[in-house]
Each structure stands twice: as C-alpha cells, then as structure tokens.
C-alpha cells in the first residue's frame, strides 16, 4: 500500500532543504577581513595635547559655512554641558575633569570617526553614504530620504539630522574636509589647532606614530589607540593620558565592523524571500498533483 505524504514528512523535507540553503549566506562573510582602504588618510588626536581652545570648532564652522553658534567660540560656559555634533557644528569639544587631579581638565574633540567599514553606510537603504579610498565617509543629501537609520546605527552617535529645513531633510556630519584633502590641503580643524593635537596623515603612518609616542612616553599615555580596532577600525584615532571611559568614549564597541553583527541574518533574507516561496510552492504543487492523480486513480478503480 502506498504511504500518504503526511504533514510531518512535508516539514521534514522542507526543513532539511532550507537548512541546506541557509549554509550559503556564510560564504558571503568571506570578505569580513576588510580592514579599510590601504592608502586611506586619517587623523590622530592626542588628547593630552588639547588645551580646549576650540579653534578647531571655529575653523570647522568657517570651512563649512555654518551659522554662528549661540554661545561664542571664546566663551567658557559652553563646557557646562556635554555637547554632541549637530547640524550647526560638525565637531565639538567637551571638557572632562582629570580623574588623576580634580583641579585639572582634559578636553575631547568629537566628530565623525570615519570608520573603515562604516555602520551608517551599511544601514543606509539607498547607499547615500560612501567610504572613499581617501578615508572620508561622505554623505549624499540628494539621495537621502530621511529614514535616519544611520543615526540609530552609528556607535559614536555622530550623524545628526538637520531640522532647519522641513522640506529638504538631510543628515549632516563631518566629511573630514574631503574637498580640501583632494586639493592637497589639511582638514580645517587640523590646520587650525595651535597645539598640533591633531595629526593628519596616512592611517597606517598614524598608527605607527601613535605607537611610537606611547612607547617613548609610557607614563604619559595609556597603552591604547582608540580607533585602531574599535568598530573594525576608524580613520580618526585617539591617544590619551587617561583611560578612554573617563572621557565619555564608548568602550563597549566590538572590535569588528558592526555590519558583521547582522550580516548572517541580512544575507539570509533574500534567500528566505526568493528561494523559499519557489521551493515550497514547488513541493506543494508536486504533492497536490500527486494527490489529485491518486484520487483520480481511485475513482477509476471504483468505477
């Protein structure tokens, strides 16, 4: 007697098939060792050199044609609160109390860190972001439709939304003065810094420079280059005289690009939505066809 194709058999078969298909997305993670463009530029901020003069903020404001801030650049009261970059300032300097000496201050400049494999670019549904071979992460306002996924996904809370114009939504952030870099000039903030606290150069040279600085002055620096590995590596890196958690740096960021957290799942989505319907549809059609054949045969027998 011929065995009926039960519901259980159907689930077994499809389960095995879909399991086999799910192996495929793993092959997509073969390029996960991407560690950035080889000749990418970057900046190294030596936080022990920064004196909090805010020349970088002023230079950034002028270079990008931003509106005058509510609190002038030579006003100290701005340090009373911790600010973050927004549509009116692509870089801000925040003040922290030195954990070793409460009477002293340490300043931290915040701007886009220009990740090697940027989470904002991965999350953007319409590729409005681009990681250039020069290192800068650029954003195209013409493509953006204002979903703000990039704001949610950025581990450094950098992209900001321009609420100034309701009709033309756009995300704003530091672009490492890309046009200036292309013209062979330094980013505006780097050029303006009186203390030379920001060094511009090839990312690989900057890592060597940072290592050398730490090695020569082990009592001055903590042995950590922030941005060398954080989020898979960033173009903008920092060295500091105190551990980075004292300066408001997020220290829970994985050492791999954030896209890898979701790559497996996202790789499975097209498979699930294209292959599964076709496969199950085919199995269903085959089973239905066989049942119809079976029934018609029975009917013929009865007759």
């Amino acid at each position: 007697m011929k065995k009926e194709f039960t519901r259980r058999d159907f689930l077994k078969l499809t389960g095995a098939l879909s399991g086999a298909l799910l192996i495929k997305p793993d092959a997509a993670s073969a390029y996960k060792e991407f560690s950035g463009w080889p000749d990418a530029y970057g900046c190294l901020t030596d936080l022990s050199e920064c004196v909090g003069c805010r020349s970088c903020e002023k230079a950034c404001n002028e270079a990008n044609g931003l509106p005058q801030p509510a609190i002038p650049f030579d006003e100290g009261s701005v340090f009373n609160e911790k600010r973050r970059p927004d549509a009116r300032a692509f870089t801000v300097v925040n003040r922290f109390t030195d954990p070793r000496d409460p009477g002293k201050f340490i300043y931290r400049k915040v701007q886009c860190n220009h990740c090697n494999e940027p989470a904002c670019a991965s999350a953007c549904p319409i590729h409005a972001y681009e990681k250039t071979p020069e290192g800068a992460v650029l954003y195209d306002p013409a493509k953006c439709f204002g979903c703000r996924y990039c704001m949610i996904v950025c581990p450094f809370y950098v992209p900001a939304y321009d609420y100034e114009s309701a009709l033309e939504p756009k995300i704003v952030k530091c672009i490492m003065c890309y046009p200036r870099i292309k013209a062979g000039r330094l980013p505006a903030c780097v050029e303006a810094c009186p203390a030379g606290a920001i060094t511009f150069g090839k990312r690989k040279d900057l890592i060597n420079l940072a290592r050398e600085k730490i090695m020569r002055n082990p009592q001055r620096y903590v042995n950590h280059i922030y941005g060398e590995h954080e989020a898979g590596g960033t173009s903008w890196m920092y060295i500091s005289s105190v551990p980075f958690e004292y300066l408001g740096f997020p220290t829970n960021i994985p050492k791999h690009p954030l896209i890898e957290e979701v790559k497996g799942f996202l790789g499975a989505v097209p498979v699930v939505f294209t292959v599964w319907p076709a496969l199950f549809g085919m199995v269903y059609a085959a089973v239905k066809h066989r049942d119809e054949l079976f029934k018609s045969e029975h009917k013929e027998v009865k007759k």
Binding site: C53, R54, F200, E212
Partner: protein, 153 residues
C-alpha cells in the same frame, strides 16, 4: 698603553673645558619678537631671559644633543654631540628652518605653530591656557585689529 690613556684623559679634560667656555660665552637673546606667523595676532614679545631663569635648561624648549630624542633630522644629520653643540652655539638654527608647513608624509614633525605652542603649553597649560578658551589673548597674543595693526612693528 698608559700613555694613550693619559693622553685621552687629558684631551677629554681640555675638550670639556673648551666647550664649557664656549657655552659660557654664548650671548642669549633677551627679548624675542615671534612674528613669523602673525597673520591673526600681533607679534608675541617673548622674554627669553626671564624664561631661561625659570626653565629647567635649554632642552626644555630647544633640541639638545644629550637628549635621546628620535628626531627625523638625525636620519641625515647624524652629528656627534660635540659637533652638534658647537654648531648650535655658533650659528643658532631658527625653529622655522625645520618646523615649517606640516607635511603629512612626515607626520611626527609638528609645524611651526604647533612647535611653538607645545613649548609654551608644557608650563602655561593650567596656568592660563586650558582653563578658559580665551586664555590666548590674555597673556601672549593681541588680536590684530585696526588699532593694534598700527602699533605692531
């Protein structure tokens, strides 16, 4: 053997004496006008004499031969300490000879502005720099305005 040792000790003694005298006879500038990058501010009148008495020696601001610094200039100009000292004291090299524009190919070398400021900030940071952002024009710089433009040299 003993003779060579004696000669070398004597030679060392005399050489030390010679260079000590050489160092003693150097005339240091008293007040220096730092005006090479004064596009925004007026020239800084730097009281060199006063700073010599307060600093812990020339090497606090200037490169000195006995400091075991890793300087890129040493790649080519690998002078012996004596020669270096002699040349520096006879013919002082201005900071801007090497510290000019920042070059990303040589990121370890600060430009002139950074080199100056770093020298100042090692002590002045916390005194008046780094407390309030307007410390700059309080002590050293005067902002160039129509008024100061006329007064500045």
């Amino acid at each position: 053997m003993r003779k060579t040792l004696l000669i070398s000790i004597l030679l060392f003694f005399f050489l030390t004496l010679l260079f000590y005298q050489g160092a003693g006879s150097v005339s240091y500038p008293k007040v220096i006008l730092l005006n090479s990058i004064s596009n925004k501010y007026t020239a800084v009148k730097f009281n060199h004499e006063k700073h010599i008495s307060m600093s812990g020696g020339c090497s606090q601001c200037h490169h000195e031969h006995q400091k075991n610094e890793s300087l890129i200039c040493k790649d080519c100009h690998n002078l012996t300490p004596a020669l270096f000292k002699n040349s520096v004291h006879r013919n002082f090299m201005a900071c801007r000879n090497c510290h000019s524009e920042f070059n990303p190919q040589v990121p370890q070398m600060p430009d002139l502005k950074a080199a100056y400021h770093r020298a100042c900030f090692q002590c002045h940071r916390g005194m008046d720099v780094g407390i309030e952002p307007k410390g700059c024009s309080g002590r050293c710089h005067l902002l160039k305005t129509a008024k100061t433009e006329r007064r500045s040299p």
